[in-house]
Symmetry: C2
Subunit: 689 residues, 2 copies
């Protein structure tokens, strides 16, 4: 599923890369300030107007849970994927009512259920602030000072604008420092569930079919955004086209691709391949092992972890696909050649050679230092505890809030506090037994790897066993109580220091070490790597020119392409699938496991038009984070709902190949057919049609 | 499609290899004298009895057109694939009646249509004649003499037994000379068409879906065998099971796999990879180019070449798959390791080292000589002329027939004459315009490659243009007249020498060169390679023991396995597909091209049970030549009809991997459902059920 891939607390964060050298047809996740108008015009004879672009942008919604969505009615109705909504569905379920399993439909607005902690954003405006950000860095500053100055300036821009406009303001670095843009968002936090089908059909085919095609998923959820307790009346929303798009038709996707590494240096890719991915996969497998074990304890335990298993399995399959991309000798060879060509051009001009010639080698040596640190810190973390996360945030908050904004840690700037508090005060349930199982398992594994004399483990365990320590921490912590969190937040440093809560006490003890680590990383990695990569960005601008798209940054992007099948496993994948195929695939596995259909699909089969298209594929260039994005035609009418990429698209993290890289979407006709004939929701169908 | 792959007159014939080292579960195409009883017993708890084996063997039919089949009623009804029957269907069609396109059903026996030149065989008995064959070779003989002696002895055994039993008798070399067996066949040549569906559904998905799965093909044809103008009443035939086999059920396949190279030496594989496959693929592509061009001339021209295009495309896809197998570094590495291990064991025992140590090197040098010859002779042949084939056979026949049997060329022994004459006297139509186009194209390409001074081209062209020569040859040849062929055959050498037919004259002129070439090959290749490979066979027997199966030889083999899906393209392929999926796949391509369904499939859709299984996959180990084989359960009931292997099975030419190598079969239920509800053939359904 094309949800933003979970990034775990593995220290090797992949630094987003510069910008793209040569753009192939359909390639690119374009910012709305720089749409590929000419390319679209040339290939499809359609010219997007500014009005069209504005209408599109303002009809799109970002889900801070890691996905995308769109307005589909004048009454604030928002469409996204079921798997983007999954976390919220789970949070509003309990032992007796499991909306993930049964689905949900609010026949009236009164029945709509408010989400625990869902934030949605609409991108209202963008402003290029590159000059201002760069001007904050003075020539006399060293690397560490430059980072500080840049961070301070960004925080200042954000808060100034927030105060001026009342909007959520984020400065985003594009082209890895080549440009800085201020994105102003209208933020919504009263989001209510209108309709979700059963996970069994939303995720039909389960982990097996995930990231593959041909596919038969009804992966949608409808929310409604409220403002002042009333349904929002958005000025812009997408019209609906129940006929969908025909084979070969031009279609667009607008959404928030999370992260791509299309022009990382070759040494970075090698590092990701040889260290990053193996570590991440080990982490995922260990995590899966413990929560699968937990899920066998009972039906309710199974319900609690189902969403997390889904997310981990999804990441595992995605990362495995990306990993295979890097293990592919041809892909690596091509990337090496690209880099060699670039470096050759630079070395041929003395002026360039002097300015840029050493960059790749110095990046390689920084990467090497970072890798050493990653390996040693992989096991120095507390995994799987929301309670500890809350404690740690509280402990830092009370300290940071007293500093001038420019001195604070990332995440604690004034402009970020609203979002921080929204998360901190979430009423979503915390499952203590689950926390204990996960924490214990990971601590045991750390103990095995690092030995009990390790400083981190000394602080955490104090020579007790992981079981004893975790039982004390979790059982005796009261942080699941929102009122207590509020009290501590408001009580400030004094209240925190006085607290007897064992999680708070542990967070206080670990805080200096964690701060040291952040500072070390800023000093030794970021302050060197960031300017080096900025320089590579400049070099590219200078050598190749600047009419390209930046790597993905979980901000709104536009992608164009067309509906198109592709060569697959010796034959062709069709451009669309139909309801016939849904039954075929289910019966091919005797309606078992992930291929079992909800009962209603057999009970009401004869009422359905089985030739209704179910899913379809397009050549649009998307990645994780685009889940829930609308697929729309040139008339800005929705023809589908992005929910995945095919297995061939996973190397899209590094390279786009139109041959077989495909976006997978739910067809607009299936959504209507299902609402009307399977879910008795004609009112909802009427609202969007 | 798993028809025997067309082998063209490319000189690099791949010499069938020895026998298999270590047998993996389900692996193996076992002879009926040595069934894998113990393996089946161990894995599935079923022990085939001698009675069961005999009944199975006698219910099987070999199609000399290159496929397999089985008796399915007490009235001589035989089932095979549509694509095995394709050549015959085309031969009985003409400009006005195209059974390939429309399908055919004989409601009464009187309406059944006799095939032009179809020979079917039933394997009546087998006898080990190894001792007798080997005894014919005396120690004092050199390689060339040994080959002659062996050939003479084999011809003698064949004709003796034919005279004694009245059966077709073939001596077959198994384990590459490790064993020689006499196979006695009951031969049938009065075979009549009962029922064939439209090619559109038999080959649904066309070249794209060929050799892939999931699949939706109704690839069957029913023939009836006649004896003395009455339907044959076979003592043995398969009962029918319309329920088919369930997921995981033990199933068997009995049929005639054509050829495998599972233990060729590494140098042979390299030669096939670097020379054999590129040459074959070039030949196929050139051939396809000219007949596709021919097919654009009109509807009738299209009809004439459709079967040949099918065959060539089929070979192209199969060979490409096998080629990819050899291009796979892992497969080659494993094969190298196997060989290295074997050679290491041999080198460690001085006695073995002395006897066998040099074999691999000497094979490598023979292969090298053969490769040189192949490259030079690739363009010294007349391609695409049946008329020339007839002329050439007549020219040789009248000479050979006068020699003692032991001195004759292969194909002209007494035991082989009946089959030779059956082919020679075939009333199947010859399309002269097509012959001209193909011959001309290949001659032009030869001229380009070899230059006009080449000896072969001198004889053929005599300084005229290919167009002129071919026009004269084809237009003025009367060999399409069967009576003339008969006259020449009976008239002997004198009639041939007097004939003014230009094809006969050319065949006479080319004959010395062709004979020289055969003799050269026997002298320089066969007489050296055969004993070397025999010795490797002995070495294997000595080093590893002898409880294995021989490489495929287009003789009857038994394979066991079970119904089972497999991992595919990131997900799972189901164990079966259904009629739902047929409509899904058709609509996924807007019912166009190879994915268009015959009209009746839409007209009668509502009468069908769409949950009827269409195709299914099993782990049985088969290759090309197994097309038309029955899939049956332990009660000897037919549950399906083999028609293909999946794309992952194509490397089966070299190595069997149960992970994804699958047999693809039509489900017994679909055949019945189609006969009853789509083709108004309830009588036929009753006969087999």
């Amino acid at each position: 599923m094309y949800i933003k891939i979970l990034f775990f607390a593995v220290v090797i964060t992949v630094i987003a890369c510069v910008y793209i050298n040569s753009t192939k047809a359909e390639e690119g996740m374009w910012t709305f300030d720089n749409p590929p108008t000419k390319l679209i015009q040339e290939k499809y004879g359609f010219t997007p107007t500014q009005e069209w672009l504005d209408h599109t942008r303002l009809s799109c919604v970002r889900f801070m849970d890691g996905g995308s969505g769109s307005f589909v009615s004048p009454n604030g109705l928002v469409m996204t994927n079921h798997h983007v909504a999954l976390g919220q569905l789970q949070k509003m379920s309990n032992e007796n009512t499991d909306y993930v399993k049964t689905g949900f439909y609010a026949k009236t607005q009164e029945e709509e259920i408010k989400c625990a902690d869902l934030e949605c954003n609409v991108l209202i405006s963008m402003e290029n602030v590159t000059q201002r950000v760069l001007a904050s860095i003075k020539p006399e500053m060293d690397g560490r000072e430059a980072i500080k100055a840049r961070e301070a300036e960004i925080a200042k821009i954000e808060i100034e604008n927030k105060e001026k406009t009342g909007l959520q303001c984020d400065v985003v670095s594009l082209y890895k420092g080549g440009e800085y843009w201020l994105y102003r968002y209208k933020k919504y936090t009263d989001v209510r569930l209108v309709m979700a089908p059963e996970q069994q059909i939303a995720f039909f085919g389960g982990d097996d079919d995930n990231f593959t095609y041909p596919r038969y998923d009804l992966d949608f959820t409808f929310f409604r955004i409220y403002e002042n307790d009333k349904p929002l009346k958005p000025e812009h929303y997408f019209k609906w086209n129940s006929k969908g798009a025909s084979d070969g038709e031009l279609v667009f996707v607008a959404g928030n691709p999370g992260n791509t590494d299309r022009l990382n240096t070759y040494s970075e890719l090698e590092n990701t391949r040889d260290l990053g991915f193996p570590l991440r996969l080990k982490f995922i497998n260990d995590y899966l092992k413990v929560i699968r074990q937990y899920s066998t304890k009972g039906k309710e335990q199974m319900r609690q972890v189902l969403g997390r298993i889904f997310g981990l399995e999804n990441s595992k399959k995605a990362i495995t696909g990306e990993y295979n991309g890097l293990l592919d000798a041809n892909i690596m060879k091509n990337r090496k050649k690209e880099e060699d060509d670039f470096r050759k051009l630079i070395s041929e001009k003395p002026e360039w050679k002097k300015k840029y010639g050493d960059l790749w080698d110095s990046i390689q040596s920084i990467i090497k230092i970072r890798a050493e640190q990653s390996k040693s810190q992989q096991f120095e973390q507390l995994v799987g505890s929301q309670l500890f996360g809350i404690a740690s945030t509280l402990v830092r908050y009370v300290v940071e809030i007293k500093k001038p904004d420019s001195e604070r840690l990332e995440g604690y700037h004034d402009s970020q506090l609203e979002r921080l508090k929204f998360g901190l005060m979430s009423p979503a349930p915390i499952y203590k037994e689950l926390e204990k199982d996960v924490m214990t398992a990971f601590l045991k594994s750390s103990l095995e790897m690092l030995g009990k004399d390790n400083k981190f483990l000394q602080i955490v365990l104090k020579d007790k066993t992981p079981e004893e320590v975790v039982a004390n921490l979790v059982d005796n912590s009261q942080l699941n109580d929102i009122e207590l969190r509020k009290k501590l937040l408001e009580g400030g440093e004094k209240a925190i220091k006085k607290s007897k809560d064992p999680m708070i006490q542990l967070a206080l003890e670990l805080d200096p070490m964690m701060r040291e680590r952040i500072e070390w990383s800023k000093q030794n990695i970021e302050s060197k790597l960031t300017p080096a990569k900025e320089k590579i960005a400049s070099a590219r601008f200078e050598v190749y020119g600047k009419n390209k798209y930046p790597d993905a940054t979980f901000t709104l992007r536009l992608s164009y392409g067309s509906v198109k099948g592709y060569p697959m496993n010796g034959t062709l994948a069709p451009y669309k699938t139909t309801l016939y195929g849904l039954y075929d695939r289910s019966l091919g596995f005797d309606n078992k496991g992930g291929f079992a259909l909800p009962d209603r699909y057999f009970q009401r089969k004869d009422q359905l038009d089985l030739s209704t298209p179910v899913n379809f594929v397009t050549t649009n260039d998307i990645v994780g984070g685009n889940s829930g994005s609308p697929v729309f035609n040139k008339n800005d009418e929705i023809v589908g709902l992005v929910f995945d990429g095919n297995i061939e698209s996973l190397v899209g993290q590094y390279v786009f190949d139109i041959t077989a890289n495909r976006t997978v979407a739910v067809h607009s006709a299936f959504i209507i057919e299902a609402l009307r004939k399977l879910y008795d929701a004609p009112k909802l169908a009427d609202e969007i049609e």
